[in-house]
């Protein structure tokens, strides 16, 4: 591929990724996931007693996600505390992870997932989902599969994989487009499909193909992170 991006990647290259499991000793499961300059940490607690009681489901345990940016994670200090954006992303993350886990053996309980972005450079929800999926596995929660997540974007007419902040804000041509996706690893089941911007309907297939390839790479990184803490 001839065209290079600002940081030297080709259009289909993902950023440098790094995953680490067990970063928070007090949690039942925890993980860090780094995509370029975006760093997410996730902690899992539970299954534990669920309060308030009206949220309890006697048929199965429930998942409860919370996503937030640290106040120092962005250039202009983010006011701490829940915001419209963080509430939406918490919900979207929860929906992305729910199909992967099975809490039928733990009725009336809750599994809490807390995601914190400690450094933000676009793609924070995808980094958060990748970290949370690792942390859930690390906590020994019964799962169908790991969840891999990647954002696809558009620079004018070119489809590009894993945008950073400068690319996400690209205003030229057809305008900024961000297409975050999450899927169950090794399957065709997508658990998160969002679209912010404009894209031609016939290009969506190409996007899914690129996401598939990127997710396969992310899955390998996740798998190695989980295996390397034992094989030492």
């Amino acid at each position: 591929m001839a065209m290079k991006r600002k940081d030297g990647r080709s259009l289909t290259d993902i950023r440098k990724m790094e995953a680490k499991v067990g970063v928070i000793p007090n949690a039942d499961g925890s993980a860090m996931f780094k995509m370029g300059d975006t760093i997410a940490i996730a902690a899992v607690y539970g299954p534990k007693h669920l309060h308030p009681q009206h949220m309890q489901n006697p048929q199965t345990g429930i998942l409860r996600c919370s996503y937030d940016l640290m106040s120092f994670s962005v250039n202009d200090r983010k006011k701490p505390g829940p915001s419209r954006r963080s509430q939406e992303l918490s919900k979207v993350t929860q929906w992305a992870l729910e199909p992967a886990i099975d809490l039928q053996d733990f009725p009336s309980t809750v599994v809490d997932v807390t995601i914190q972005i400690i450094q933000a450079d676009a793609g924070t929800r995808t980094a958060g989902i990748n970290a949370a999926s690792l942390a859930l596995a690390h906590a020994g929660i019964p799962m169908k599969n790991l969840v891999c997540s990647i954002a696809i974007g558009k620079l004018d007419k070119d489809i590009v994989v894993d945008l950073d902040k400068s690319e996400e804000d690209f205003e030229g041509g057809e305008g900024p487009t961000d297409f975050p996706l999450a899927k169950l690893a090794n399957t065709d089941q997508y658990t998160l499909v969002q679209l912010d911007g404009k894209i031609q309907p016939d290009k969506v297939k190409e996007v899914l193909k690129l996401a598939d390839d990127a997710c396969a790479k992310i899955y390998e990184i996740q798998k190695n992170a989980l295996k390397e803490i034992v094989e030492q």
Binding site: G22, D28, G29, Y45, G46, P47, K48, H49, P58, A100, D102, F106, P107, S108, T109, A137, H138, A139, G140, I141, P142, M143, K144, N145, L146, L184, A185, N186, Q222, K223, L226, K227, V230, E231, Q232
Partner: protein, 239 residues
Amino acid sequence: MDTNTEAHEAENQEDVQSEEPKKRRVVVPGEVIVSGEDFLPGEGTRREGNDVLASRYGLAEESGRVVKVLAITGAFIPRRNNVVIGRISQITSNGWVVSIDCASSAFIPIDESPRFINKSEMDQFLDVGDAVAAKIWSMGPRGIDLALKSRGLGKLDGGFLFRVIPNRVPRVIGREGSMINLIKEKTGCEITVGQNGWIWIKGKDIESQIKARKAIEMVTDKIYLSGLTDKMEAWFADN
């Protein structure tokens, strides 16, 4: 053996991770462990078509035709007959509510007291905040019932409590209690190990208690080594 954990060790045998070399490998959820109709999916696995897949993260083990995944991380999942160490969190009219670090609440009925207790004097036997060692007697949708009527169970007086990762408890106990007996023998401490990760140590002096704790923390750190009992014996010789 002067101590009181013999009784529990018998039940913990099943959980003990054997130290003889066996075919084991780390698997992540969704990973194919074995293919073929010959295998039966056991704990922590499921069958999908021709394959047996891991449904949780852990060590996959094939014992005969049964394939299972042993947990190596995560929260304590209570099982019947587990010995646990908890704290009294509430006194009710017919027993004590105990917090044992898991999702469902645990309960000691008043009948479990070794002598008759007047309902107005229940705090004389077990008061809020007291530590107890108890065995999980039954588990139902409404919670866990605990029993005290067994050797080595009951209120823990003196000594100190600390916590290790619950999944490493089988290693602390060792094959047929070999590890814990070694530590008891070398330090002369009384030790009760709860399956929920809480460990109680009481010894003659503070040095021996600290030594016992250090030894146990060594064992939980070095979980992936084999032949650990021999290595610990060497460690005790050096210290």
